[in-house]
Amino acid sequence: MTVPIIALRGVNKSFGPIDVLHDISLEVKAGEVLCLLGDNGAGKSTLIRLLSGVHQPTTGTIEMDGKPVSFPSPRAASDNGIATVHQFGGTFPLMSIGRSFFIGVEPTKGWGPFKIYDRKRANAVAVKAVQDFGITRIDDGDRLVGGLSGGERQSLAIARAVHFGARVLILDEPTAALGVKQATHVLRIVNEAKRRGLAVVFITHQVMHAMAVGDHFAVLIRGAVAADFKKGEKSREEITDLMAGGASMASLEAEIEGYMASHDGHPPPPAH
């Protein structure tokens, strides 16, 4: 049994009188993607904010490599190798790819007080890092981040995290605002991160996206883990059903399929 890179053990989170998360226990191993599923307001974002140091658990512990840790700040979490990529990826739209890649750790050349920012090297490293993830369209490090497509921006942010040694990658609905093609890009990059041995926590609303990359699925309903299962243990219908929080979805689909079977493959007219 390998020790998971990151794990939650009996975590609860309340904001004052509001209990948002109840007794959450989850773990992610190296090279594994955990998909967090659940309806709006289920507590997914809150859960990952605990992992990325934005909030702290009210009770319960977070473990890394089997040892309890605490992240008093986002900085503390990122120092421990936890990288969070938000929906819109790069946060500095008016900076160049090279400069934004190296924020805070700018490469320099020269000596003493005359050290200057090494634009060429920054651009080359940044471009290579994204290209290694399969995004070959990015080839000019002077381009502004804001000029990239949503998928490219996500990819840049993920490549940056991996380049700087992230071990845990947290993605909050990275594909929500993307078209089909862009989303495919991001999913491919998630797979590449997984191949490189990162532990990935992936939040999504789209069951198809989850099935494309997930090894392990956890469904949150009103702040509790309602289901926790591995790839192949449940069908797409069952997952969709769980996400909707009841039997309604699956029975609706079954109804439609039944209708189609008895009507030469035609779907029923939409309900009013």
Binding site: P93, M95, I103, G104, E106, T108, I116, D139, R143, L144
Partner: protein, 335 residues
């Protein structure tokens, strides 16, 4: 380095400012002749540009970082009055007056910076407060100490030559040399040293910048110290130059430096701009205010030109910024 192209130049933050400068030059060359480009004419607008530019660049850096400092309007008379009271009224050595003027600049900047960082109050409000507070201190203390609202100061020797004299035949202020030297220094720090990146990152997204390890609080405080001290420096030099200081005056620096910065291509919401752009914006502003004297227009029209210029520059800068954002290198251009 990639080769220089027209498109590449237009995508730079100073593109709008450079075009604005050219437009203004052409305008005044047509209506006023080339006198303002001859040495005597040049020093008139260079003097204006220098005094404004020394304040506009640190103010512009604050704006790139997403902050604003309007207390510079009070720091100019504060610097002037400090050196005049200490070295003129009390007759202490000029270097004591210089140190005190700059020292007060550092203190006010520090207070501004700490208040902005520690409270959630926008810097416009914080520095509006310190603008009035410092104006009150200058007026109150000056009248209390000297029983007057203007104080004489006579400086000779090296301090006069360094801070407040005329050079090159007696028309151009030594401030022009300070301005050029400081501009070069700022260009190095903002665009070549690794620290410049931090200012842009802070203006782009402060929280992410902090999470990336940038000491955003310390950097903010340093920038406020820089702008307040620069304004005190300009006031101090003017007092040494003109041999006196008044309690009033200086407020014009607030709007004038913001105009220079915005015409210079700095994005009001932060994250975008350049020192060279602010430099061009400052020159453009100075030429409009001084060039009008070489034309047949009444000087009152210069405000209209500046207003139009400001709006034109903002629109142009928006366009160029969009161009920079949507720029995609041509397919197959990779080498």
């Amino acid at each position: 380095m990639s080769s220089i192209t027209i498109g590449g130049l237009l995508r730079r933050p100073e593109a709008g400012a450079a075009l604005g400068l050219v437009a203004v030059l052409i305008f005044f060359a047509i209506f006023g002749g080339l006198t303002f480009l001859k040495p005597a004419g040049m020093s008139s607008w260079l003097n204006v540009a220098a005094n404004l530019g020394v304040i506009a660049i640190p103010l512009g850096l604050l704006m790139i970082a997403g902050e604003l400092d309007i207390s510079v309007g009070a720091m100019v008379p504060f610097g002037a009055m400090t050196v005049s009271v200490i070295s003129g009224h009390y007759g202490l050595p000029i270097w004591v007056g210089v140190a005190a003027a700059l020292g007060f600049g550092v203190i006010v900047g520090l207070v501004n910076g700490i208040l902005v960082v520690k409270t959630a109050v926008p810097s416009l409000i914080v520095t509006l407060g310190s603008l009035f507070a410092v104006q009150g201190i200058v007026l109150g203390l000056t009248v209390l100490i000297t029983k007057s609202t203007s104080v004489a100061l006579t400086v000779e020797g090296p301090a006069k030559a360094i801070f407040g004299d005329f050079v090159l035949g007696g028309q151009m202020q030594v401030m022009v040399i300070w301005w050029l030297a400081l501009t070069a220094l700022y260009i190095f720090f903002v665009h070549f040293s690794p620290f410049g990146n931090w200012i842009f990152a802070m203006g782009g997204d402060k929280v992410s910048a902090r999470n990336a390890g940038i000491p955003t609080d310390r950097l903010t405080i340093v920038l406020f110290i820089l702008s307040a001290t620069s304004a005190a420096f300009v006031g101090m030099c003017q007092a040494i130059l003109y041999n006196s200081a008044q309690v009033a005056g200086g407020q014009s620096f607030i709007f004038n430096s913001i105009i220079a910065v915005v015409v210079g291509g700095v994005l009001l919401t932060g994250g975008f701009g350049s020192v060279v752009g602010i430099f061009f914006g400052t020159i453009t502003f100075a030429i409009v205010t001084q060039g009008i004297y070489y034309t047949d227009f009444d000087r009152n029209w210069s405000s209209l030109i500046i207003g139009v210029l400001l709006l034109g520059a903002v629109l142009m800068n928006n366009t160029f910024r969009k161009m920079a954002l949507s720029y995609t290198p041509k397919k197959g251009a990779r080498a």
